[in-house]
Symmetry: C2
Subunit: 405 residues, 2 copies
Amino acid sequence: MAQNQNIMIVGGDGFCGWPTALHLSQLGHNITIVDNLSRRRIDEELGADSLTPIASVEQRLAAWKETTGHVIGFAKIDVAHEYESLVELMSMLRPDTIIHFGEQRAAPYSMKSVSQKRYTVDNNISGTHNLLAASVELGLDPHFVHLGTMGVYGYDDDGLEIPEGYLPVYVPGDDKQIMKRDILYPTNPGSVYHLTKSMDQLLFQFYAKNDRLRITDLHQGIVWGTQTEETKLDERLINRFDYDGDYGTVLNRFLMQAVVGHPLTVHGTGGQTRAFIHIQDTVKCLALAVANPPARDGKVAILNQMTETHSVRSLAQLIAKTSGARVAYVDNPRNEAAENDLRVSNRTFLSLGLNPITLAEGLLDETQQVAAKYARRCKRDMIPCVSTWTDNQRPGLVCQAGRAA
Amino acid sequence: MAQNQNIMIVGGDGFCGWPTALHLSQLGHNITIVDNLSRRRIDEELGADSLTPIASVEQRLAAWKETTGHVIGFAKIDVAHEYESLVELMSMLRPDTIIHFGEQRAAPYSMKSVSQKRYTVDNNISGTHNLLAASVELGLDPHFVHLGTMGVYGYDDDGLEIPEGYLPVYVPGDDKQIMKRDILYPTNPGSVYHLTKSMDQLLFQFYAKNDRLRITDLHQGIVWGTQTEETKLDERLINRFDYDGDYGTVLNRFLMQAVVGHPLTVHGTGGQTRAFIHIQDTVKCLALAVANPPARDGKVAILNQMTETHSVRSLAQLIAKTSGARVAYVDNPRNEAAENDLRVSNRTFLSLGLNPITLAEGLLDETQQVAAKYARRCKRDMIPCVSTWTDNQRPGLVCQAGRAA
């Protein structure tokens, strides 16, 4: 393992990709960001914007060089549709590690209408497959690190701790003997976005088996927090804070609502339990994954990248308590279990030395340094979620409840 | 259930699609074929051709009308890339049943080079997803019947009978209690083609669960035979007989080799055991599936569509015995187990009344009526398989062995 690696970061302009690029650059790796800037385009499509002011890519990279002396490369390539350009770049870079963040990553956006469903499937599957196929075609031997999601498993409460990818099961054989099998934990995705990440798993399984690619798939929880040690260095390096109904995750939307004096809108009963991780821990996990590639044994390494679990209701209560905001229960636009328990194994990252930031200790900082600081930039109309999972759910009502409350 | 249904057959110009269209038309259904004629284009790309002479679509449909009085509709649409045309057609047709054969279906073709890998993923995934998404967007309630493959499971001999889609497994819970789960039988695809069919399964699982689409996924074995009762009615209706290294399945290639006096080339030891079904039984199974849609319970119906299993070696020996041909063992271009056992449950179709044609009784007819009859059209150079699964396998050697033997 080279200490200083050539690392290609696909989607390196996005919410997880950008702080990861900076952190790995700070650690001394040679970083090239490959991005088609689609996240910026989708902001325009939705009329939304990050609460924090995001500089252009050029400004970001210039600020990084000015602040740290490190140079990060950038190539504007759509990896899903510009295969020849991708191959040309990869044959030049010959990356030791490819980190793949380049997927449409919002569940509500993926369910908005047929056009976003089709975009999400096409973009995510073609992008992932092109990266794998190009690596094989060029005879490269990269460690391929993919940002997946805990959400592929769905949240039907089934009384099992979610293992790191593989579940040992017992099957009665034909002669009544009981046989043990290690299977990929069966997926049960709850949106088209989660569906594509489930399909990615099969792409990885095949390329690991057939071509002996070394692949690490990180099943990440919901990320909260905005800044990392590196993005704090200069305001031009600041990371995204999304609070809109499509890209804003639950915690950001609650924080934003609290700051602007809007009730915290809980979808359904709030009994949905989810896994969380701070963005600072995300970049640390990525660095740990990059430094610890799996063996070339034909098997994908699957790591759960999360540090704690909370129910939506308890998150709302926590933020209501500190901010004085009211909690409003509105219709749930998602097709999901009203209440669930969730237990997840994250042994690998803990054993590699991850020391997590807890919500209890990071929340105040997030409120003061980000949500309150940039509150003047908030577009209140963007907070409610108006995507619905099926036609017989009523966006009007959800929207109404969100706005009227 | 309407007795006479509006049925849209995607890929209805292909090897399984065409005889299915004729059979369902003969049964009185209103059939519309949707096809982009890609199978004909790939023949040109490969310099290959069906042994049997295939008429143009227009000639086929005219011959069918002339012979039986039945009219079959035809729309030349690429369902993977012409979404607007597809939606327009579907909103007009409002099909009771959609049968989806419209996928690139040759494993060796899918492994030929990066361009065929990328084509297969894009064509198969986008096509399947567009059909599902369009059904939901238009508020239709079709029974969606898909031709899948036994091959999604791989052929690692693991001592289990392959069930119809769902495998009951036992998992130790956290309190040491043993819990039973019904899971999708874990897939282990052996080529990019098989990979796409595994990914299709996840698309079906999601759309059945989220949108309550009724979906039947037919996991078919290797099809042998050429003619059905309907395709025999006129030579212009004749079905494809592929014997080339990409699209020819093992039995056809042996029959062709026997007829032209070429040794039967067995890849590896010939210990690979596979499931088989005659094309006449394929169309009967499709008619049974169309007549028996599953409940709208959020669960995909998965049926194994095969009637017997044979090892490649025993097939070669059978054909060698009847034809006097010699058997030649050559390198295996595939990345697969050398020997495996295979047991498959096909209870559903047997219980619905399927009375299978066996290889033992159908083989002579196939040899005389098809392979020998059209032998003059054979291009001998097309028989060897030159696709390899990974770069360190040597196509030259395989090809050499095939030709020199």
